[in-house]
């Protein structure tokens, strides 16, 4: 059950970062609380002080600026799955958001909280990696951009410093000739395997760029460049026949762990299945787009 704690309610990013700097390990950011409070109730973690950042204005907006979608870290999943800009520019992201947790968690849980908790069985990180997203972290007096690939260090561990606040997520809008998909699988409450795929074609319909990321199966989501290499420069047909091998490589790269969700072997297999299906999904979307 929840122990006593002190609640701070800063009204600016600066104030929040100062509180973090002052209290160090004994304080923690409190966004939606769907992860934090659950873990605190279970007695798994304890903090003397929670810093509620929801009083800070402007961090729960989605904006399109110069071809980049800027998502405030405090935007709840529910808002993201219904956002008109995202629906138009990043439908794969909207679909992913729609399937995060359940509607109660989505209503209060934020994208920033999801990323910062770095619970391995989570979806957004994997997709953001293939979309080429950058995460913006702020300190009282400085600010840096972290590519999604470099954000996750281990299970429950990110590269954020103790006094850094995640404020924004910047996602480039999908280029003209490109598609993205995220598929996940699992039978427990949270996903067991997630695969993100981004494909861009050149004028001759050859794959100009492929990005593959796997999540949930191992301690952290990661890009699989070796598998991407198998698809690059290929026509759709050749790429499709290379998929099985790409899937095997991605499966191995996932660092799958055998646990209640399933054996490592099974998760590796599922990575391959999802990669194949993600590719199919993107191809189908592409052909339905071009036939329109």
């Amino acid at each position: 059950m929840l122990r006593r704690f002190r609640l701070e309610e800063p009204e600016s990013v600066k104030e929040a970062c100062e509180l973090l700097a002052r209290h160090g390990e004994s304080a923690r950011i409190y966004a939606g609380g769907t992860e934090l409070l659950l873990a605190m109730k279970e007695g798994l973690i304890q903090y003397e002080r929670l810093i509620n950042v929801k009083k800070i204005t402007g961090l729960d907006q989605v904006k399109l600026e110069n071809g980049t979608i800027r998502i405030g870290a405090l935007t709840p999943h529910r808002k993201l799955e219904n956002d008109p800009v995202l629906k138009q520019k990043l439908p794969a992201f909207v679909r992913m958001e729609h399937h995060v947790a359940n509607v109660r968690v989505r209503e209060v849980g934020t994208l920033g909280g999801n990323l910062c908790f770095a619970e391995p069985h989570a979806d957004p990180g994997t997709l953001l990696m293939v979309l080429g997203a950058k995460l913006v972290a702020e300190r009282a007096s400085s600010r840096r951009e972290i590519p999604a690939e470099r954000f996750f260090v281990d299970a429950y561990e990110t590269c954020l410093e103790a006094d850094e606040l995640l404020t924004d997520i910047h996602v480039p809008a999908l280029p003209e000739r490109a598609g993205a998909a995220y598929l996940k699988f699992g039978y427990l409450e949270r996903p067991s395997v997630g695969v993100g795929l981004f494909i861009a074609w050149d004028q001759d319909a050859a794959i100009a760029e492929a990005r593959i990321a796997v999540g949930c199966a191992g301690p952290k989501p990661k890009r699989v460049e070796e598998a991407e290499g198998l698809l690059k420069g290929k026509s759709a047909r050749d790429a499709a026949s290379a998929l099985a091998q790409a899937g095997e490589i991605a499966g191995r790269a996932a660092d799958a762990i055998g646990d209640l969700h399933g054996s490592a072997e099974y998760k590796e297999h599922i990575v391959g299945v999802l990669l194949k299906r993600a590719f199919q999904q993107i191809s189908e979307q592409r052909s339905s787009k071009s036939s329109r």
Binding site: M1, L2, R3, R4, E42, N102, F185, Y187, L188, E189, R190, L260, G262, S263, Y266, H269, I270, V273
Partner: protein
């Protein structure tokens, strides 16, 4: 009581009598109550599956400001601390040793929950670990340590002919049934089939975890509890604390789901002992993880062997069901009894030899759970039926139809003959499932059938009182617990129909054992049938009184009197109940009381079982052969309910039961590793949710008005849980050719089976 053919209230979709109260959040559950002076309790639990408790030091905990009492074994020396309705094997708090992870070792009462929780970490317990019997294989190994060398005798409610605890082993009950001669039967058989099936441990998951408030003072013991069996709790508390029944008051507010997990006695003795020590009322509100370590369903291994003639005639059956009953007997002996009778099945099979053993292990105690012993046995039996049919080259539907008992056929000697039309029931399910058309299906998709028939466990003892008040309103006093199943609505419907008053006139309050008359329990699909009979008898008693009074006032013969819409009518003369009461008592007050009993031989047949409860099922599945995931296109359930007093509630019960069965079929399993629970929380233990509903859900209610209950009703609500597992398993086999003998049918299990098959 004549059977009626036209009804005004019975058989109608009457609205839930407590519905508005519940959906507006006004309904009070145990945790909503506040008793003056009430403290909050928390429990320190064993982290070890099996250990000696060497010492307990509570000094630091007691010194924490706000702590009023810390209860340990030292505080129960003046009472008999053992309880258990079957075997008194369970101390209300750990004595010399702990036998499972989660067993209460100390309990704190403090001014608030936070303080109590903090005090728990200050209780210092020294343990000495003992060898762990993690599974029944460990417990049954010759020379295994004996978990219960010190059972305190039989409990008051085991209701078994003989409790067969095998002294000096870890078998807490051994049920054996046999008939005919299996040796000859197998010799006469053309084919003999043998299979082994596994069934997982599963948790009830009620939205409301266990909760109780206790108060001990000069008036005796008062307990408010989320229990389903208040009268059993009363009896057990009276024994433990050496009080007459009249000094033990058990009150039951609304209960947020029970499913067997709140049957019999659970946390009440501990809370009473804590309140007794604190000298103040104490509330204990468990969390879901705590309740997951309080009670569960028995996991099982079922060995089944059947001899068959070439033409598909069943000849002989041998079976052995091993049930993991966990650290304490709880309802294990009765579960073993039912697992034994239920694996026999509703088929003509004269030679059988069946054993079922409830075996102690160092895991959470297992007890009642919707259809005790049913899902375990019938998962095995009905899968085995399909396996045999396939091997014999006979259509599984035809194979069942050939062997199913007809109405009136003897199931086994001494038992009530089959009282349902199983052949036509099964045919109806097959039609809904398009069984014939399914032959043309592509791979990966298929349909499967299962017949679930269980001998009702219902004990036919209930009492009811109906009071007609001066303004014509009616109070129904019945000890059936409203756990969400809708029993209040049904019982009020039965009373209103009998009394010829509108349903709104009848109110049933929650149980208070000081005023509500005795009922055996709420469970075993018995309330409509057994309590319903008592309620109808009580209402009929009242009705007779009204007729007599009416005849006197209206100067007519009793035979001329008709009761209708709250009026007594004789020809063209009529008088309302209210006016009649006023005339009778000579004042605008007074009340009439009707009483009704149901007991074996009195209103209810003494022959076991009271009725055969049916839950037939058909599943239409789609298998994702790449991932192994099973999707349900359709599930068809059929229940013979005799008479549906409230049809939508019957459908709700049947579909709810099927959904729960789909849970243990596809998702649920409480996993232990060497006695340590790995997933006692709702993130890692998966109960099905709305997105797992079958795309189409059909429920067929069969009504022949032939049950032993009021208006020909018979029990339902449990057996619907047994068919999903074998029906889905059978559909999977027909869709893909793989047969899985262990639940749940997780995607990985299915995928592995598919892979193994294709690599062969």
């Amino acid at each position: 009581m004549a059977t009626k053919s036209s009804f005004t209230i019975v058989g109608k979709a009457a609205r839930r009598v407590e519905g508005i109260e519940k959906v507006t959040g006004q309904a009070k559950f145990t945790v909503d109550l506040t008793i003056p002076g009430m403290l909050e309790g928390k429990v320190a639990r064993s982290p070890y599956p099996h250990a000696l408790v060497e010492s307990i030091d509570t000094t630091r905990a007691e010194k924490l400001p706000g702590v009023v009492a810390v209860l340990t074994r030292a505080d129960v020396k003046d009472i008999n601390p053992y309880f258990g309705h079957c075997l008194r094997d369970r101390p209300l708090i750990a004595l010399d040793r702990v036998r499972y992870v989660g067993e209460p070792v100390a309990a704190v009462a403090a001014v608030d929950a936070l303080t109590a929780q903090e005090a728990l970490s200050l209780v210092e317990v020294k343990y000495k670990e003992l060898p762990v019997m993690a599974t029944f294989d460990d417990s049954l190994t010759p020379g295994a340590p004996i978990l219960h060398p010190d059972i305190q005798g039989e409990g008051a409610y085991h209701e078994l002919k003989k409790l067969q605890a095998e002294i000096q082993t870890n078998v807490c009950h051994h049920e054996h049934i046999e008939e005919g001669d299996v040796g000859t039967g197998f010799a006469e058989s053309d084919r003999i089939f043998e299979d082994v099936f596994e069934f997982p441990m599963v948790y009830h998951y009620t939205m409301e975890p266990h909760a109780a408030i206790a108060k001990v003072d000069a008036n005796g013991i008062t307990v408010w509890s989320s229990c389903a069996h208040p009268f059993v709790v009363r009896a057990e508390l009276a024994l433990i604390f050496e009080q007459p029944l009249s000094k033990v008051q058990v009150l039951v507010p609304y209960v947020g789901g029970a499913y067997g997990g709140k049957s019999y006695t659970k946390i009440e003795p501990l809370v009473v002992a804590l309140a007794r020590k604190a000298g103040q009322p104490v509330r204990l509100e468990q969390s879901v993880p705590e309740s997951m370590l309080t009670n569960r369903r028995h996991s099982a291994r079922v060995w089944i062997k059947t001899g068959v003639k070439r033409d598909g005639t069943l000849v002989a059956r041998e079976a052995k069901v091993l049930l993991d009953t966990g650290a304490y007997a709880d309802n294990g002996p009765r579960v073993a009894r039912r697992a034994a009778t239920r694996i026999h099945g509703p088929y003509r099979i004269g030679n059988y030899n069946i054993d079922a053993l409830a075996v102690y292990t160092n895991t959470c105690p297992a007890g009642s759970f919707r259809s005790i012993g049913g899902p375990q046995s019938i998962w095995a039996l009905e899968s085995h039926m399909d396996i045999m049919a396939e091997q014999l080259g006979i259509d599984p539907l035809e194979f069942r139809l050939k062997n199913l008992l007809k109405r009136g056929d003897i199931v086994k000697s001494g038992a009530k003959p089959m009282d349902a039309d199983l052949l036509s029931d099964l045919k109806q399910v097959a039609v809904k499932l398009d069984w014939k058309g399914s032959a043309k299906r592509r791979t990966g998709s298929g349909v499967g059938l299962a017949v679930g028939v269980t001998d009702s466990e219902a004990v036919p003892v209930s009492t009811a009182i109906v009071r007609l008040l001066a303004d014509g309103s009616v109070v129904l006093m019945s000890g059936s617990t409203e756990v969400g199943q809708g029993t209040r609505t049904v019982l009020c419907q039965i009373a209103a129909e009998e009394l010829s008053v509108a349903l709104e006139k009848v109110t049933m309050h929650s149980t208070d054992t000081n005023v509500t008359p005795f009922d055996r329990s709420t469970g075993a699909s018995r309330s409509t049938t057994v309590m319903g009979t008592a309620v109808r008898a009580a209402a009929a008693d009242l009705r007779a009184q009204l007729i007599e009074i009416g005849a006197e006032i209206l100067k007519a013969k009793p035979e001329q009197i008709v009761l209708k819409d709250g009026e007594i009518i004789a020809g063209e003369y009529r008088i309302g109940y209210t006016k009649a009461l006023h005339t009778y008592f000579g004042m605008p007050g007074g009340e009439l009381i009707g009483r009704g009993y149901c007991r074996p031989g009195g209103g209810m047949s003494p022959i076991y079982p009271l009725f055969w409860e049916t839950g037939l099922g058909g599943a239409d599945v789609e298998v994702d052969v790449e991932t192994g995931e099973i999707k349900l296109n359709r599930f068809v359930g059929l229940a013979d309910v005799g008479k549906a007093i409230n049809p939508p509630q019957c459908e709700g019960q049947d579909e709810g039961a099927a959904m729960m069965g789909i849970g243990h079929t596809l998702f649920e399993s409480l996993i232990y590793d060497k006695g340590q629970p790995l997933n006692p929380n709702l993130v890692d233990y998966r109960v099905p949710s709305f997105r797992n509903l079958p795309a189409v859900f059909d429920t067929i209610l069969v009504e022949n008005q032939d049950g032993p209950g009021p208006h020909g009703a018979k029990g339902m609500g449990e057996t619907g849980i047994v068919s999903p597992a074998p029906a889905i398993g059978n559909a999977l086999a027909r869709a893909t050719g793989v047969r899985i003998r262990e639940l749940p049918l997780t995607p990985e299990r299915v995928w592995r089976a598919l892979r193994d098959k294709s690599s062969k």
